[in-house]
């Protein structure tokens, strides 16, 4: 299963998902959030919800020089092997949607686990859990 952004037009920008993501690891605030909501050049135009979309052949893992990012079986994104990661930041540059967030304390990437905790805190059905779609769908 993967976390999917089902309907961005319904997003009101409350950022409850962002707070949920940090709370998942027991923290209040936003420092640990792996999901981001920002306006598309002004709130009047709506929002984009930026989170790992569990690519089938993830560029972030492909560019990792130490093999610290491992694609999950069943298409649930990537795992970060903290002891292998050297904090080079290549993964962040490789993700063209900006879904590799950064932990400034550990100097390592933070990437959505596709656990679905945030889904329960989206009041408008923007987020949902989805079975992995057919590979390489054109969107």
């Amino acid at each position: 299963m993967r976390l999917a952004v089902l309907e961005t037009e319904k997003c009101v920008g409350c950022q409850s998902c962002m707070f949920a993501c940090s709370r998942r690891v027991g923290e209040a605030g936003l420092a640990r959030s792996c999901i981001g909501v920002r306006s598309i050049g002004g709130m009047e135009r709506g929002f984009s919800v930026v989170v790992c979309r569990a690519c089938s052949d993830p560029p972030c893992a492909k560019v990792c020089p130490t093999g610290a990012l491992v694609p999950r079986e069943g298409g649930g994104g990537v795992r970060v092997l903290a002891d292998k990661c050297i904090g080079c930041g290549h993964c962040q540059k490789a993700c063209i949607i900006g879904a590799v967030y950064w932990n400034d304390e550990t100097n390592k990437p933070m990437i959505c686990l596709h656990c679905g905790y945030c889904v329960d805190f989206c009041p408008y059905g923007v987020l949902g859990m989805q079975k992995r779609e057919v590979e390489n769908v054109e969107e």
Binding site: Q15, S16, F19, E27, S33, G41
Partner: protein, 591 residues
């Protein structure tokens, strides 16, 4: 307090010297929680007695609270300053992304003093403060300046951009500060205080973490608050139609001020109701950061250019109950598109308080009808109920101030009427233009005794609708009820909880939420703190010359029938005398 909580950091910025420093002030936050409570103390510390509201000594204070970024709906920032409109306590609240951004940048409060010699904007990014040249932005409206700053500063999705429009630059005493395009520090003229300091905007961003000790309890309490927020019928009301939902019931009730309160019912209310706007114009709903409700309603207005075919302008314009009252019913405007066109100017280009402007234009229209002013004063504008073109023209002149008349209008209705007459129908209370409620004595007493002369100080309009309309209360009882409500609201605004969530944030819940944030306070403690903050605000007001027995009562409120039959001058005066005695006693003064 949470261990090492950055809330106790107060960032002080001096625009004259271009310096900044951070002081740790646990004393303030432990005693006054944050928001209103802390801002009031900072105002006492930073605002010299009798200072010019538009001089460099007047501080701009922003404060957030303990629960900000911890729990949903603690989403407001409190601003405090000396008001250029009333010459007294200035306090205005705003949501958007402001509260979360300030807390996540690592501050509980920000104080801005001094004055820049050239236009600047401040970029506050965590522990860095940049003073940026804003010469290019000077003269720009809300949308454009917001867009340019957005493109030049980091922190997308994690920042607030507070800015002023032309109204603030031109020191209009009721100009506002806008955040995130559609939210405002609307009342009492913070925009002019920005303008007087040549401060065009303040950007704040941050992404930090708050050190919770009991993580399990925190999550459980969070779920409880979140669930009651999304399940509450009140929240549904605010999400569905927004505050504009109140137009129809208030009109039916007979408490909707119309045409400068010559009437309290508007025959065309249904044409500019929340239902009509939702059906015909609603383009998007937005939320403040960390609030699942999403009460912000944005209309999409599509207008054709008159001179060329197939060119359209689509404007996104926010609407709420109060602007519909002030720029709609008060001006006799019954076409929704006309209201939106005027609102667009107010919000985008002018950057002034919609409520004050509407009341001022309503007074001017009646004064024009009565011959107190003529086309000589108005520069040829024929002010007429419902004539939006005339109102747009007059509004533009208020911003540009081409003659003494418009200069007077730029200082508020109290001042304009003191020059041109018509004080009996100049609808301001304590110097602040009236809100949209002629529901009975509760509403008017509420704004008269309220520390910032706002309907949200103590919700007297609600007391009218829920109690006074059915049951006669003595003036003293009304004052006691209003004071009790206002004291409790000092706790909510010190925790920066949105007043729309007041039904959820009960004293009992608040004590439990504070416990997880490291504050051991009982309901009794909260009552004591609320009372103290209220008194501290009044202490400032009295210091600056405010007295309840000296407030002006516009005769109009006694001339137009309200739903509560016993709204008369004797009743109001009796109530005010009692309020003065009670509050002054609290301050240890003779009434």
């Amino acid at each position: 307090m949470l261990k090492n909580d950055s809330l106790e950091n107060v960032l002080s910025i001096n625009l004259t010297r271009r310096t900044f420093k951070v002081e740790r002030r646990p004393d303030l936050f432990e005693r006054y929680l944050g928001g209103t409570g802390v801002a009031t103390q900072l105002l006492h510390e930073e605002c010299p007695e009798g200072c010019d509201p538009l001089g460099p000594d007047n501080p701009i204070i922003f404060a957030v609270g303990i629960l900000t970024a911890l729990f949903p709906l603690a989403s407001k920032t409190v601003s405090m300053f000396k008001s250029p409109l009333t010459g007294n306590l200035g306090e205005s609240h705003c949501g958007g992304r402001s509260a979360v951004a300030i807390r996540m940048a690592g501050y509980g409060a920000i104080v801005i003093k001094g004055s820049s010699s050239m236009p600047v904007y401040l970029s506050i990014e965590g522990n860095q403060v940049h003073f940026r040249d804003a010469s290019t932005l000077w003269g720009m409206g809300n949308f454009s300046s917001g867009r340019i700053i957005r493109e030049n500063e980091p922190g997308s999705g994690l920042r607030t951009i507070m800015r002023i429009g032309k109204g603030g630059e031109k020191l209009i005493t009721y100009s506002c500060v806008t955040t995130e395009t559609f939210r405002h520090f609307g009342r009492l003229g913070l925009g002019a205080v920005f303008g007087s300091k040549k401060l065009k905007a303040v950007v704040v961003s941050g992404k930090s973490s708050l050190p919770i000790a009991d993580k399990k309890l925190y999550r459980a309490l969070y779920d409880e608050v979140y669930k009651s927020a999304v399940d509450s019928p009140v929240m549904k009301k605010y999400h569905d139609l927004g505050t504009a939902e109140n137009i129809v019931p208030l009109n039916k009730f007979g408490g909707l001020p119309t045409r400068n309160l010559q009437d309290a019912q508007f025959e065309n209310a249904s044409k500019i109701s929340g239902e009509t706007f939702a059906r015909q114009y609603l383009g998007r709903r937005l939320a403040c950061s960390h609030c699942p409700v999403g009460c912000i309603h944005i209309a999409a207005l599509r207008e054709a250019y008159e001179d060329v075919s197939y060119f359209f302008k689509t404007s996104m314009i926010s609407y709420d109950y109060e602007p519909i009252y002030a720029l709609g019913t008060m001006l006799g405007i019954s076409r929704p598109a006309d209201f939106l066109k005027l609102m667009d100017r107010v919000e985008e280009a002018w950057g002034v308080d919609a409520m004050s402007l509407g009341v001022i234009l309503a007074w001017a229209t009646e004064a024009f009808e009565k011959g107190l002013i003529t086309q000589e004063e108005t520069r040829g504008v024929k002010l007429k109920w419902g004539d939006v073109k005339a109102y747009i023209k007059a509004g533009g002149y208020i911003i540009d101030q081409p003659n003494d008349f418009y200069k007077a209008l730029a200082r508020g209705v109290e001042y304009a009427a003191s020059v041109y007459g018509g004080e009996d129908f100049a609808l301001s209370f304590g110097g602040n233009e009236m809100p949209g409620y002629h529901t009975g004595p509760g509403a008017h007493l509420g704004v008269l005794i309220g520390t910032r002369h706002s309907h949200l100080d103590n919700a007297g309009y609600s007391l009218d609708q829920k109690t006074l309309v059915n049951k006669k209360m003595k003036p003293e009882e009304v004052i006691d009820a209003l004071l009790a409500e206002e004291r409790w609201r000092q706790i909510l605004s010190s925790l920066t909880v949105c007043f729309f969530a007041r039904g959820i944030y009960s004293p009992e819940l608040v004590t439990r939420l504070l416990a997880v944030a490291g504050f051991d306070l009982s309901e009794g403690d909260l009552e004591r703190i609320g009372r103290e903050i209220h008194a501290e605000k009044y202490r400032f007001k009295v210091r600056e010359g405010f007295a309840l027995d000296a407030v002006r009562l516009p005769k109009r409120i006694f001339e137009t029938d309200s739903p509560v039959s016993y709204l008369d001058e004797t009743y109001i005066k009796k109530a005010l005398a009692y309020a003065q005695k009670t509050i002054w006693k609290e301050l240890g003064r003779e009434g």
